[in-house]
Amino acid sequence: MKGKEESMKKRIAITVSLAMITSVLGVSASSFGAVTAKSNAPKVTITVLGADYGSGPSNTTSKYWLNIAKGFMKLYPNVTVKTSTINWNDYNTKVTAQIQNKNYPDILQGEFFPQYVSDGLLYPLSKVLSNPGAGSPVFKSSFSVNNVQYAMPFVTSARAMFYNKKLFAQAKISAPPTTWAQLLTDAKAIAKLGKIGYSLPLGPEEAQAESYLWMLGSGGGWQNAQGKYTINSAANLKAFAFLKQLVASGATNPNPATWNRTADSAKAFANGQVGMEFNGPFLTATIASAGVLKTSDYATAAIPGAAGPVIKTLGVADAIQVFKSSAAKLPWIKKFMDYATNNANQLAFAHEYALLPGTVSALNSLKNDPILGSFVKALPHTVLFPSSANWTSSVLPAIKIQIGTAVTGNASAVLGQLQTLATGG
């Protein structure tokens, strides 16, 4: 133990001295840059890898990043910003493959990987943002390791239940359900119309969010208050037992394990094929672009739970994090981070995809927005995904692949296997 402590101290000392060196170098580089910005500033290339929030080539996030890159390169002609995006369906696979091959981007937007911190790959946020506290404080602990914040919430959202008012009227349902039992009855009534009563996207894209919302309904979750995994807890099994019943009743889409949130579920809702589904504000953008439903044709309600509505819904934040590179590059990356997360860029993103921004100032400016306002207000009252080191690195990928099979197969075996993986190290 003592030896360990000593080596820890040594390591801290080394990190501190390294930090001093880098900051000294950083300062000198940036002052150098400021003085000679136009003449002979060093040539720097910054690579940005982000997730794609678009539904197709017309609104791909590559365009958003290209715009930011162009704007930034105009200000700082010595910097070349290279951007690329990855579809959410393949995000984990592709990012993991790239990182495993030690091909690190400078800036990674999307999932926050605490494992990168343990492996010493990331800069703390205080080094790469002029105002490290710019991001919403709701997600501070999720994006911190040992109380040091390593990622900023770049885009956030809260979840609610969307329901199709037209189909509800056709099925003679007067109010959205607040309990699981009501949801089952209502979903069956809508299924009789030849539509999907409740759309259950447990495909790999975001199975973790869909299953979490159901777990919350019976008082369960991925972890308990102490941060210990409880994937196969009785409460979670209760949620999956209900889902199994819901799927068997024929009131959902036929095969939840291959049904993805964006490509299948959101699209089907936007085309008027779905009675109810849990989703985020971005669904409104999909609905608008499909042009089938009017704003008055659908509404949102609280997520139903086993006995009553879920009070704390799920809040999700996608991160932006910076990989360590050279001290000479750091000041330019910091400038870029400040630029990319300024209000104009944050709000442009929010409006493009009907998502919530990540910074406090951008969030505040949307409080009275007709579509996003209610989600902004819900954000502080949310529960979050686990922030354990192995969550994004090994548990999440396995959940995405496996958990959908729990509603057709043996739920306790599937959840038990995930629990073993999560706690087995």
């Binding site: 984990n92 696979t93 993991t96 990182i99 495993q100 091959n101 030690k102 990987f113 494992q115 990168y116 492996d119 790959l121 299924a191 030849g194 539509k195 999907i196 495909g203 790999p204 024929g250 889409n253 036929p254 095969n255 394990a257 291959t258 049904w259 089907a268 094929q273 690195s393 090994s394 548990v395 990928p397 396995a398 692949i401 496996q402 959908g404 099979t405 057709t408 197969g409 075996a413 599937v414 296997q417 993986l421 087995g424």
Partner: protein
């Protein structure tokens, strides 16, 4: 015979190397000549085959996190974890079903096709060209096209099936039309695609084998009054055996390693319920690199066994002909 020349070669080399000091330089260079010729090929094999294999085996014994950092030696832990996975057994069984059904169906369909293409008939050239198409097309593309054709709402197979009355209802709420969402039906469709993709190579190998059989044997059989069926059984079948075994073994390897069809059509899902051991290995990689490496080692052993069978067979062919 072979063995004699094999054993004498190294002896000759030993004798030569003992005399190396007395040999003029020119001779030494000439005797080294095979190295120049074989060297590049050997380096290529060492770099592209042997090194990755060694690295894979090494990886399976390390404790490597998903970010790619090595935390030291882990012994057999990854193998123990792999064999403890409840999903491994179904994956192995599925791989065997996949291998046997695809390869046997391919062989059974390719044989009559090859017989047909060996006959003179109008439009033969066109048919032969058409048969090349699935081979010439990227397997990945074929898989995507099949996935689209199986789309529940507007896939061609579903629309045609519905029009013919084979499918009662199609669309998003139809479980029947969602072929790739149900593991059993998805697996059957993937087997069909795999057969479709394997047919051209197999047919052409068998066709080449048939064309290598001298025509005068058939003529002699005809003179002796043999029926077409008899000459097929007594001449074509036995003389086709070398080509057939080559086609069989190469198919076994290809089908075992087949990744794009399954990955593109279902990603091995739902869950890992349509994954073969090759796809399963890739799925494992996202949550554990060493376990995926251990799975690779197991897969590698299986392929190695097939390759050894192949090599032994080609040896046997040389000896008999």
């Amino acid at each position: 015979m072979n063995e004699d020349s094999e054993t004498s070669a190294p002896q000759a080399m030993v004798r030569n190397s003992q005399r190396v000091t007395n040999v003029p330089k020119k001779n030494l260079i000439r005797r080294m000549e095979p190295i120049y010729w074989l060297g590049p090929a050997f380096l290529l094999i060492a770099g592209v085959v042997i090194m990755p294999v060694a690295f894979m085996v090494w990886t399976s014994f390390r404790n490597i996190d998903t970010v790619g950092f090595d935390h030291g030696f882990a012994g057999l832990a990854s193998y123990r974890n792999l064999f403890a996975l409840p999903d491994l057994r179904p994956v192995i069984i599925r791989t065997i079903v996949w291998l046997i059904s695809v390869v046997s169906a391919t062989m059974l369909i390719a044989l009559p096709l090859a017989v047909l293409l060996n006959r003179q008939f109008p439009g033969r050239r066109a048919v032969r060209m058409a048969l090349v198409a699935p081979w010439a097309t990227s397997v990945f593309m074929t898989a995507i096209i099949f996935r689209w054709m199986l789309q529940p709402q507007s896939g061609l197979i579903n629309i045609v099936g519905h029009a013919l009355g084979l499918l009662h209802n199609i669309g998003l709420t139809s479980a029947q039309a969602d072929w790739l969402g149900r593991p059993q039906s998805a697996f059957v469709w993937m087997i069909i695609v795999a057969i479709f993709v394997s047919l051209p190579f197999t047919t052409y190998t068998l066709l080449a084998g048939m064309q290598a059989i001298p025509g005068d044997i058939y003529e002699a059989a005809k003179v002796d009054g043999a029926s077409a069926w008899r000459s097929f059984r007594a001449i074509t079948m036995p003389l086709l055996k070398p080509a057939a075994v080559v086609a069989l073994l190469i198919n076994l390897m290809n089908v075992f390693n087949s990744f794009p069809i399954i990955w593109e059509m279902t990603r091995g899902g739902p869950g890992d319920q349509t994954a073969t051991s090759t796809v399963f290995m890739y799925q494992l990689k996202s949550s554990s690199i060493p376990m995926a490496a251990a799975m690779s080692v197991v897969n590698f052993v299986v392929v190695a066994v097939i390759v050894i069978m192949f090599l032994r067979f080609s040896n046997w062919k040389e000896r008999t002909i």
